[in-house]
């Protein structure tokens, strides 16, 4: 990795099912203003801006950064948009990281958002499929996600009950998250008995549909102290992919995530992830994916994710808490989630997480991804 890059300011909206008081651009502004205030900076002190959102079809504005630029007062600056489906926010943060690490900027603002109330979520995701080959039978991304969870059940033992435990854990953790909008405790039984939508995915395995934005300020080492005495340094960050229709794609372990983790752990000096991370934040578009990440990130061996969640280790009081923020179950403005997870991880190591501060947290692992589960990345943050 290049120069030290730190997260020195964070801000997110109070996410909600539908914001009818602000436009897409206005929503972005809220998160940006909070991140700038948190970093004790004005837009004048930001060199470059990265905007990240999910697909254009979510909200009918093509290249929306060209509209958003007015609302965040970034006219005249270097502004570019990254997009990568569900992992857009993370991909945007990665681009911002390299702008600073590569010496192109000293401070970069990364803002990510989606205003999902404005469009037809699953139908717009169905357009991910090849129009010639598969789109006519697509059921958003849920049909696909459920199909391979079903396959992992047989091979890796990712049972409905194990996924229900993930949902119950994350929903419970969301209650203390001031930015979440779904705050209701559910039992494992309730998840198991909820309506099958794309079985094995059931209603309570699915996160809400949300409007929300999130922003971070990245700074080089030289300027970081202007904003905070305790930045969250990015010790490693990577985002990898696999061809969607590759013959060798197992969809059991996430190979792109395992590849990204290997790169990132090497950069950050992580040799025993289960013991070295104090806290983990993952982007679980459905409950079943969190189990997949446990194994792909090396928090447990393949086939032991169900045991890991059952053991309580990933609960708030476990030895490796996963999603103390509640993850996507509390709020899921898709394109913003990668940045939200980075914010939750960063504030943990900065010692000021607003949901559930893990005592003494010094090193955090953050995961994000999108597409057909074929774009996957992770980052290691530490104080």
């Amino acid at each position: 990795m290049g120069r030290e890059v730190g997260i020195v300011g964070v801000g997110q909206t109070h996410h909600s099912r539908r914001r009818t008081d602000v436009s897409q651009a206005g929503l972005v502004r809220e998160a940006v203003n909070r991140a700038l205030a948190d970093a004790k900076l004005s837009m004048d002190e930001i060199d470059t801006v990265v905007v990240a959102t999910g697909p254009v079809l979510f909200a009918a504005v093509n290249q929306p950064e060209k509209w958003v630029v007015d609302a965040i007062g970034a006219q005249g600056k270097s502004v570019v948009r990254l997009t990568s489906g569900g992992g857009a926010g993370f991909a945007g943060a990665l681009a911002g990281y390299y702008q600073v690490a590569g010496g192109y900027s000293e401070r970069t603002l990364v803002v990510a958002y989606d205003k999902l109330s404005e469009g037809q979520l699953q139908y717009s995701i169905s357009t991910l499929y090849d129009p010639f080959w598969g789109r006519e039978f697509a059921v958003g991304i849920m049909g696909f996600s459920a199909a391979y969870w079903r396959a992992r059940m047989d091979v890796l033992g990712h049972t409905e009950e194990a996924a229900a435990m993930v949902s119950a854990k994350n929903r419970k953790n969301s209650i203390a998250n001031p930015y979440a909008h779904v705050k209701k405790e559910v039992t494992v039984e309730e998840v198991l008995n909820s309506k099958p939508l794309c079985w094995p995915i059931k209603l309570l395995d699915v996160p809400p549909i949300s409007d929300g934005a999130a922003a971070i300020v990245l700074s080089n080492e030289k300027l970081a102290h202007h904003s905070t005495t305790r930045p969250a340094w990015i010790r490693g960050i990577a985002y990898c992919c696999e061809a969607d229709n590759a013959p060798e794609r197992s969809l059991m372990l996430s190979e792109p995530l395992a590849i990204a983790a290997k790169k990132v752990y090497r950069a950050a000096g992580i040799t025993n992830p289960r013991r070295q991370f104090d806290v983990v934040e993952v982007q679980e578009p459905y409950s079943c994916f969190e189990l997949n990440y446990y194994e792909s990130l090396g928090l447990c061996p393949p086939g032991e994710a169900a045991d890991l969640i059952a053991s309580g280790a990933t609960q708030l009081d476990g030895d490796i808490p996963v999603n103390p923020s509640g993850g996507c179950m509390g709020a899921n403005p898709i394109g913003a989630v990668g940045v939200i997870r980075l914010i939750e991880g960063a504030t943990q190591v900065m010692g000021r997480n607003e949901s559930h501060q893990i005592t003494g947290a010094n090193t955090a692992l953050v995961q994000s991804g999108g597409g057909w589960a074929n774009l996957r990345g992770c980052a290691v943050l530490s104080a």
């Binding site: 007015d70 005249g76 270097s78 690490a101 192109y104 061809a243 792109p256 057909w372």
Partner: protein, 370 residues
């Protein structure tokens, strides 16, 4: 710790055609990715990352990069999609190599605007939906008003614009990279249908299908692979306000800002370049770019445009593969600098420009040196 300099190792481009109706996106993409390694000694195994530019709205599918990863050669590699002209993808790639974690990167940009039944919707969906879309304001209207103002302010007219367009088409035809049935002369440009008064169809850049790939690497790797590498010594980009009406009339401030950023890094001014390859959405847009780069004073863009150092490739007017145009310009500039030239007159410095948005809202400038 000093950061490595980044150079261009090789480029590959399909022909730019009004419609590649015998090929899919993946055919164009995989062709340039296969081709870009020829003669370099590198293979896909040497590539650390891929950054691509394309548009979901043009491709007719969401997260379209996701479906093209195999063609891009990205399987099990790091990949990123910049939904902006390919010059911004190159900017990302340069940063990534300079940061020290990667040494070889592949940049790909492509588009097939011919597959959109109404290309105006690509632009129309870019303006905000409450005030601008309902009244029919979009790319054409903005370019028309930009031209109307420029003509009025600087005493040039359609004939001047037509002469520039004819010159560019002739250059493109000579270059052989662009499919052209018949090169229009000035009269034909003037006589083409009205697009947005005072601009005729041919005074607006022609959308074409195509793909371009480029290998970037650290300078030391590039140097070992053959000829003196072309080094990217400066980069800058700037985005203006969304409100076309709030931008300065008769200038592109963002071009000047991007040029200043790039020039400050390179240590020389774009006006000192031996070669300029610039993008533009219209004939008047090209004049505004040249003025923004400092190659001509306000209102004098036409003088610079007729110089031999500007857009030898023909530029974007005869061939605008939306999302790939700026990367094509960088590839063309690289060719001009890296071809064997005799003696002291050999071009050594190039300025390269890419653009995006309605009426060129955002602009990017690179400096390239051998």
């Amino acid at each position: 710790m000093s950061m490595p300099r980044v150079g261009i190792v090789s480029t590959s481009m399909t022909q730019l055609r009004p419609a590649w109706d015998s090929a899919q996106h993946i055919d164009l993409i995989s062709a340039v990715v296969l081709d870009v390694f020829k003669g370099t000694g590198l293979t896909l195994d040497d590539v650390d990352f891929i950054i691509d530019s394309g548009s979901d709205v043009l491709d007719g599918r969401s997260i379209s990069n996701c479906g093209f990863l195999g063609a891009l050669g990205a399987h099990h590699k790091e990949e990123a999609r910049v939904e902006e002209d390919g010059l911004w993808a190159a900017l990302y790639g340069v940063n990534k190599i300079r940061a020290g974690s990667s040494s070889v990167g592949l940049i790909v940009a492509y588009s097939k605007p011919s597959e959109s039944r109404d290309i105006d919707l690509y632009w129309g969906s870019m303006v905000e939906p409450f005030y601008q879309r309902p009244v029919g304001f979009g790319q054409k209207a903005a370019l028309g008003m930009q031209a109307q103002r420029y003509f009025a302010a600087h005493g040039i007219d359609g004939k001047d614009a037509a002469a520039l367009v004819a010159r560019r088409w002739a250059a493109a035809a000579e270059g052989g990279q662009v499919a052209i049935d018949a090169v229009p002369d000035s009269d034909a440009v003037l006589a083409s249908a009205e697009a947005a008064a005072p601009l005729t169809d041919l005074m607006i850049s022609r959308p074409v299908d195509g793909a371009v790939a480029m290998l970037l690497s650290t300078e030391d790797i590039a140097a070992r692979l053959g000829r003196a590498p072309a080094i990217i010594t400066g980069m800058g980009t700037s985005m203006e306000t969304h409100a076309f009406s709030a931008r300065s009339a008769n200038q592109l401030e963002s071009v000047a800002k991007a040029a200043a950023m790039a020039g400050a890094k390179a240590g020389w001014k774009p006006s000192e370049a031996d070669v300029a390859e610039v993008s533009a959405s219209s004939a008047v847009g090209e004049l505004l770019v040249l003025e923004g780069l400092g190659l001509a004073g306000a209102g004098k863009g036409l003088d610079a445009a007729m110089s031999d150092k500007v857009n030898r490739s023909g530029g974007a007017l005869p061939a605008d593969p939306l999302m790939a145009t700026g990367l094509v310009r960088l590839a063309e500039a690289y060719k001009q600098l890296s071809q064997p030239h005799a003696g002291a007159n050999a071009p050594r410095r190039a300025v390269v420009h890419g653009t995006g948005g309605v009426a060129m809202q955002t602009n990017c400038v690179f400096t390239l040196e051998v």
